[in-house]
């Protein structure tokens, strides 16, 4: 089973994939409205906001958790190797 290269979410159903396309390597939540994958900054901001909203963490701590999680995902490998 595929997992999203940008957030790690398991993708089983077509609806889980960006644009409903199982050929895609990223999920529906990591796609922009036009179907392209979100940038590093967009994804980090989205994850940080999500952690604050659903877990109530301090914003800086949430941003750190988002970045630590992204460090382990293939989509952002190059970003951290820079």
């Amino acid at each position: 089973m595929k997992t999203c290269i940008a957030c790690g979410m398991p993708m089983k159903e077509a609806a889980d994939f960006a644009g409903g396309d199982p050929e895609k390597d990223y999920c529906v939540y990591c796609a922009r409205p036009d179907g392209t994958m979100q940038s590093f900054e967009e994804k980090k901001a989205g994850m940080t906001e999500f952690i604050v909203r659903t877990q109530g963490f301090d914003e800086k701590a949430a941003a750190k958790q988002a970045e630590d999680a992204m460090r382990m995902l293939p989509a952002w490998k190059e970003y951290f190797e820079r």
């Binding site: 089983k12 999500f50 877990q55 630590d68």
Partner: protein, 193 residues
Amino acid sequence: MESKRQLQKENTRRRIMEAAYQVYSAQGFTAATAAIAKEAGISHGAVFVHFPTLNELLTCLTQDFADRLGLELHELTEKSGDMEALLKSHLDILSRYEDFYIRLITEKSLLPEDAQTILAGLQTTAAYHFSQVLDREIKNRTVKAIPSHMAFNTWLGLVHYYLQNKDSFSPEGPLLLRYGPELTSTFLNLIQF
């Protein structure tokens, strides 16, 4: 021949992971790697052939656990209609890994940084599924308009308090099997109209 060797290698790796899961569940993360080797039925040195450092073993084990739990959480939200079903399923999943999960939440500081990140991600996954169902129920006016983070933290805080004090609540048997129904009904009473 190469593929057979590869398969054997993968089997041994899996055996070490299973043994580590059992040993750490029973003894905690300070358990000796020699105990893991004994449980797996292999030499002590063979553990390090597959996992050169202890941190690597702990990180792989946490990742494997998070993958399994994450997938089960993902599947249950697709099936679960309401909050009651979600809470029951959440506890059902945790109860299957109860001893290991208790180690993860009580001995987090003993884990390497990467494993702690994986564990944090696991709770974010749980929070995601929780918020999906909560938002839906708030919209349907079956649940009070409680901020998502407070509802999730109250639930997780309650469950973790019982798990962290298992020696007082349920010293001789599985805790969630015994208290799960009471925890679920109490939480539902607090959030529902």
